[in-house]
Symmetry: C2
């Protein structure tokens, strides 16, 4: 069997965290995966040096593109990146998106990131989402994620092997759209949770917000992506990610701070998140 090549598309904190996991898993499954994991990144100068040099990797010519593409870029760069790859992928390449968020439809409405990747590149796209704040995963705390994959069990098992470690448990469900929508909509609930925290509403109210938020997400999925499985909401991508986001996420922190200070933040870290939320 040919060794499968894996590439990371994106080099932010979550991308770097996942790259580390994937690289160590490829060491374990040497007979299946090519030992080199390439990370595709947007070049930046950090302390006078190229980031690419700092992490000891380079931009690659697209002719070397891989079997498995792990998309973990900020979603606003996605369309350009995919357009650059168009027509240059291996025939059986598959994608897996770790990108949280939704894209606007040109005619109004929303569009899944997996749909956009699929439509530009004509590849199958799986989804990995879950309760996994990047720093805590990187620190080796126990956490989980859900792999939503329409592919055969053989392929989903390969993807699972890429990501799972002793401390990072992956469950597979064949319901990728539900997994993806959960990962996008949880941030709205996270904002509500932050507002409740800002108002010192207490744990009962916050629990009610999370619960009602989850029920609203199930209704949204039922209406716009029919055929979802109710059990998927019990996976890490559903209740798990919602809880982690509403207690430890950045949207929560931003919204709490906005209520308590009565200011809209304009520092980069905070404002990016707010704009993501307000855009759609």
């Amino acid at each position: 069997m040919d060794l499968l090549k894996v590439a990371m598309i994106g080099s932010g904190n979550w991308g770097t965290t996942v790259a580390r996991i994937v690289a160590s898993n490829i060491e374990i499954y040497k007979e299946e995966f090519d030992p080199i994991v390439k990370m595709w990144m947007f070049e930046e100068i950090v302390n006078g040096r190229k980031l690419s040099e700092i992490i000891n990797t380079e931009h690659e010519n697209v002719k070397y593109l891989p079997d498995i593409l792990i998309f973990v870029t900020p979603h606003q760069f996605l369309v350009n990146i995919c357009n650059n790859m168009k027509g240059k992928l291996k025939e059986n390449a598959i994608g897996i998106s770790l990108i949280k968020g939704l894209l606007p439809e040109k005619k109004g409405g929303i569009r899944l990131i997996s749909e956009e990747i699929h439509d530009i590149l004509n590849i199958s796209v799986s989804i990995l989402m879950g309760a996994n704040l990047a720093q805590e995963v990187a620190d080796g705390h126990f956490c989980e994620a859900t792999l939503g994959c329409l592919e055969s069990n053989e392929i989903s098992e390969k993807l699972r092997k890429l990501f799972e470690t002793d401390n990072f448990k992956i469950s597979v469900v064949h319901d990728p759209k539900t997994v993806e929508v959960c990962g996008a909509l949880k941030n709205i609930v996270g904002c509500a949770a932050g507002i409740a925290d800002g108002l010192d509403c207490g744990q009962n109210t916050k629990a009610a917000i999370l619960r009602i938020g989850l029920v609203e997400i199930t209704k949204f999925v039922d209406m716009f992506y029919p055929g979802s499985h109710i059990r998927t909401f019990f996976e890490s991508c559903g209740i798990g990610d919602l809880i982690a986001t509403c207690y430890g996420g950045r949207n929560r922190a931003v919204c709490e701070a906005m209520v308590k200070t009565k200011k809209v933040f304009t520092t980069k870290n905070f404002s990016d998140q707010i704009f993501y939320f307000l855009d759609y």
Copy 2:
């Protein structure tokens, strides 16, 4: 229509909080409920005075027992209380239990509190559980509860009216055993959450513990009380109460403190909770 008499059986913090809600609702629905709510209590001397005098009520002769009995005593007193009432209730009396926990079967195994009340008193027993830490309900923060009721919609609607206020939202499900089991088992997950907090595991791990705990509760209900509805776990009694317990509950606090101090608490407030947990 005869006015329905309501009695509270129990006078702890949750009993007192609920008594206040019920009494104010009875004011609103004067045409349905008798204006006097009696609270049955275990006599204690507080600062040299009888607690019964302090809250301006008295033990009542059982011949005045009511139509609706709201059970909110500590569970260890329940069997004696019910035995004292046996044979003295109105023919169509109904019970509603707010008691969280489980009873031991004499032959081993566990027994629902609603089953015990039903078997001693031969009355139908509904359940009220949810994300409602007593103090926060009493303070008027928004919160929710789930009413599990096998009775007709007419009766469940009367019970709902007794409890619901603008700040305390009640949903009705016809799945009382699931509601009751959720209220009992969530405390085990609360202990696990407290241990994780004591170990500074972070939000990912804690979210994983809550998620896995909830899935375990669904499996327990499926096995021992088949016929449950998966949607019931999305109610306040399920995910809501679990979250409130795992972030704001006493079991969580006790277990965190045990890990951090490496001591088993013997102060009354803490030890009671631990023994509840260890007993079953």
